[in-house]
Amino acid sequence: MADGLQIGTSALLAFQRGLSTTGHNISNASTEGFSRQSVQLGTNQPRLIDGAWLGTGVSMQSIERSYSAFLTKDFQVASSALGQFEASSKMAARLDNLMADQERGLSAQLERFFNAFQDVSNNPTAIPERQVLLGESEALAEQFHYLDQAFSALNAQVSDQLATYVDEINQHAESIAALNDAISYARSISKEGSEPNDLLDERDRVLLQLSKLVGVSTIEQGEGVVNVLIGNGQPLVIGGSVEKLSLEVGEFDPLQPRLTYQRSNGTSTDITQYLTGGSIQGLVDFRDNMLESSRQQLGLLASGISAVINGQHRLGVDLDGELGEDFFKPLDAEVVKSIDNFSAVQATAAITDISLVQPTNYKATFNGSVWELKNLKTGEVSVGTEVISVDGLEVTFTEDAFVGDSFLIRPNFRAANNFEVVLRSPADIAAASPLKFSENLANRGTAGVDALVVSSRENLPLTDPFTLTFDENGGGAGVPGYIVAGGPGGFLAYDPESDFAGKSFELDAGFGDASIRLTGKPESGDVITIERNTEGTGDNRNVLSMIDLQTEDSLLGSSISIQDLFAISVADVGIRTRQSQLSLETQQVLTRQTEDAFKSKSGVNLDEEAANLMRYQQAYAAAAKVITVADEMFDILLSSFR
């Protein structure tokens, strides 16, 4: 009978624990990272009675959590990838939104800018049209500045978020270290095989949070301790101790900070490029690829416009008959010295041919004997000692470099920011061409000039006129042509019988490196005079040439026009954003699957708990009945003695 009481009591206790655990599960059904727990019951040691083994009831063996190390790790890895794509596609969407308006923004302003040139060509003497052109040029500069500032703002957002994430990573590392200590203590005071389930859950939860920010790998060390490594094996948490991540000024640009790993001995290592996965990676990817690419393309557009417009404008003459000056501020490549350089070596870079400049950066590194200039987009390396010429750039280095010294060459990065109109007065717009021609009135034939185009400023403005005199034997008997007197000199073979529809010539070098197209049927002695264009206020030839620049394939190896370059960079943003969205969607599905597997293993099902509740309740009631029966049996026994 005492047995009955004992057995009943053991069952009461066991089922009470069961009920408690069910209650714990129910109350934590929505707790993040909680794994459902279950009570493992076992029979008590039986007693040998009359040679037979009599059961002595039940007792709780342990409380276990439903947990799979494999599923948990899987979920962590998937979360890292998700964090990465979430961060990059969120930033990409902002850039995408920025570009969405540009059909009305920069692109439309480019149109207005060139249309203002058209209006000047319609009325080259009029000051108001010229004023409008200057106004539209300023507006173009503002558009460039606006976009550049928007890009800078995105860059700043990336930096801010990186700073926040680095803080969070360090906090998580602290939490994990503290939990490692707590777990190892809890295990030391509990009985063999009994795990501190809730602490383990909490550590897994923090690890998951950490994984979302940065890819980590974990190593079980025994005693329930987990070590966390990041990057290419840098320990973040070892047992109860923590190393820190920090954000330091970038090697080349303080506004593009790098992530460094701080050792306890005070040294730090740049691990930006070794980090894989997590929001941090997503942000760095966005900044270094998508945003950088957009900035470079915008910059190339800005320096392209500046260079080609200036180039043509300088070939014209203004209302005062003076040669045109720069329209926009000339933009050149930027050279940034690495903050890690030991020597005092200097480098300069100049754009020598805008049509060859690529939207990319270059990194120059001294290897001990030569400089290696690496195109950071294609990976192509050019080698040189003092001067390296590549892609329309000329990079020059001073002597006495140390091994490992490096420079970043950014041909376009700041161009949009530095884009500026330097022409101030409407009268200084060089609408006219510096040379003009006239056919002498006494000409008997129909000698004519179709076009006269200058292509350099050499010997301009022309001091003395030069003449083209037709002679049917000018090039020797029977060889008709024009004898050029003065200026570049030379002889232009021209046969009126076959060339009357027009024949083009490049005049000898100098004097504007002019080319001329002659037409008609001259008679011997006919003269064409070429002279400085003075008072040519009604001349719009140079403006017409400038209008052509809008659609002329002048950039990227003469493959694309100013007008189209921007359209391409908008498409580029669109495509990259779409790609990152697709990656995100794919990763969401993958992560959802691992999460499902994880939760299906560890999550609490309330119906299941309700069933458990009923099960334990009933068992508890039954156990209580056992005690009642034992009590009644005792009563019966006592009453029999009465």
Binding site: A29, S30, R36, A92, D96, M99, A100, E103, S107, A108, L110, E111, F114, N115, Q118, S121, N122, N123, P124, T125, A432, K436, S438, E439, L441, A442, R444, G445, E523, E535, G536, T537, G538, D539, N540, R541, T551, Q563, F566, A567, V570, A571, V573, G574, I575, T577, R578, Q581, D596, K599, S600, K601, S602, G603, V604, N605, L606, D607, A610, M614
Partner: protein, 396 residues
């Protein structure tokens, strides 16, 4: 598979959120009427849209340029029409003057009228457009093109011809230089010019024509006696031909046909040279001057006839020049009309492409909206229904 309650909850919520996001996107599309909200919605269409809107903006500019060019050319055209009318009137006056019935006084009156017409013509050549530019001054459009200098007129402009761009690859000339219009007019009959010096004593008049377009040399026909014996010398004094004049009968030398009427005196001569460009103003001035001078002697009257005959030729050259320029202007106007029509067509095409690329198919979008609405409702109802299912409901 085992499902945790948390999963059930979050899946239900996720389904609702996804449906809401889709609905929101469709709603934005409907509100804006645009299929493409950001470049990532359709990167290639976004690029094309930018290019198309650039093309449309260019075309609108070309429309403006065309109107501008039409105004410019139209102005030149109307000025040249007036110039032609004036020259026609002068021609009538010359014909009138070239009859024998005139006294010095009545000829002088005609001379004065020609002078007045000359002034009117000069006004036309010096006209300005609405923005104050001289239209016949070439590139020197702020300089008055024709000014009187000495006996003649000087051209202060240059030979620049302004073009305007009226399409991607077509430029149309909108200005003709004064040199081209008023100066490049050959004197004489366009091939030859003959001069009968004041020193001539006889009453002979000369008529010439050249069989070749381009005469190179100068010649002089000189009469050796009163009987009509002549010799023709070239510029260096070599005798080209000698002969006996038969009044009114044509003879030829070096591809030049000559007819001389009347009886020349010894020493009378005619100087022949290739025609050269003379501005119409100088021609009219000379004409007016000739008519204003008294012509009393037979030889003076003969000179006058020779001069007037050539003046008629010169005026005809001028008229032909004006007509030539006008027809060129007309051609250009026609070309502009064609361009304008093509621009309109192109813009219609471009706008249609823009609309195809960008515009929302409302019917499709509205039905999509309805479908997504239904989807959202379904997700919400499913959530409520599923969440309502709990074993706890049966525990009491």
């Amino acid at each position: 598979m085992r499902i945790s309650s948390e999963q059930q909850f979050s899946q239900g919520i996720d389904a609702i959120l996804v449906q809401q996001a889709k609905l929101n996107e469709t709603q934005e599309q409907l509100a804006s009427g645009n299929r493409i909200l950001t470049p990532s919605d359709d990167p290639s269409a976004s690029t094309q849209l930018i290019k198309l809107s650039a093309l449309i903006a260019s075309n609108n500019q070309y429309d403006r340029n065309i109107v501008f060019a039409q105004n410019q050319i139209g102005l030149s055209e109307s000025k040249l029409k007036s110039a032609g009318d004036i020259l026609q009137r002068v021609r009538e006056l010359v014909v009138q003057a070239n009859t024998a019935i005139h006294s010095n006084g009545s000829r002088g009156a005609i001379g004065t009228e020609i002078q007045n017409n000359l002034d009117a013509l000069l006004d036309i050549a010096n006209s300005k457009d609405a923005s104050g530019e001289y239209i016949f001054s070439g590139f020197n459009s702020t300089t008055q093109p024709f000014v009187k200098e000495g006996d003649g007129y000087a051209y202060k402009g240059d030979q620049g011809e302004r073009l305007l761009r009226v399409s991607e690859d077509i430029r149309v000339q909108v200005r003709d230089s004064g040199a081209e219009v008023f100066q490049k007019i050959k004197d004489g009959d366009g091939r030859l010019k003959v001069n009968s010096p004041d020193s001539n004593q006889g009453n002979s008049t000369i008529f010439l024509e050249s069989n070749v377009e381009s005469v190179v040399e100068n010649y002089a026909i000189e009469f050796l006696d009163g009987g009509g014996r002549y010799e023709i010398r070239n510029a260096v004094g070599d005798v080209v031909q000698t002969g006996q004049l038969d009044s009114g009968v044509q003879f030829s030398f070096n591809d030049i046909n000559v007819t001389i009427d009347g009886s020349p005196q010894e020493g009378d001569r005619f100087e022949i040279r290739p025609a050269t460009n003379v501005d119409i103003f100088s021609t009219l001035q000379a004409l007016s001057d000739v008519l204003s001078r008294p012509a009393d002697s037979a030889s003076a009257l003969a000179d006058l006839t020779t001069h007037l005959t050539q003046a008629l030729n010169e005026i005809d050259q001028g008229l032909a020049k004006f007509l030539g320029v006008r027809s060129s202007l007309g051609n250009r106007l026609q070309q502009l009309d064609v361009r304008a029509a093509e621009n309109i067509n192109a813009n219609i095409r471009y706008e249609r492409s823009v609309s195809d690329l960008k515009d929302l198919d409302y019917a499709e979008a509205v039905s999509r909206l309805n479908m997504e609405k239904t989807g959202l409702q379904a997700a919400q109802q499913a959530y409520v229904k599923v969440q309502g299912l709990s074993l706890f409901n049966y525990l009491r």
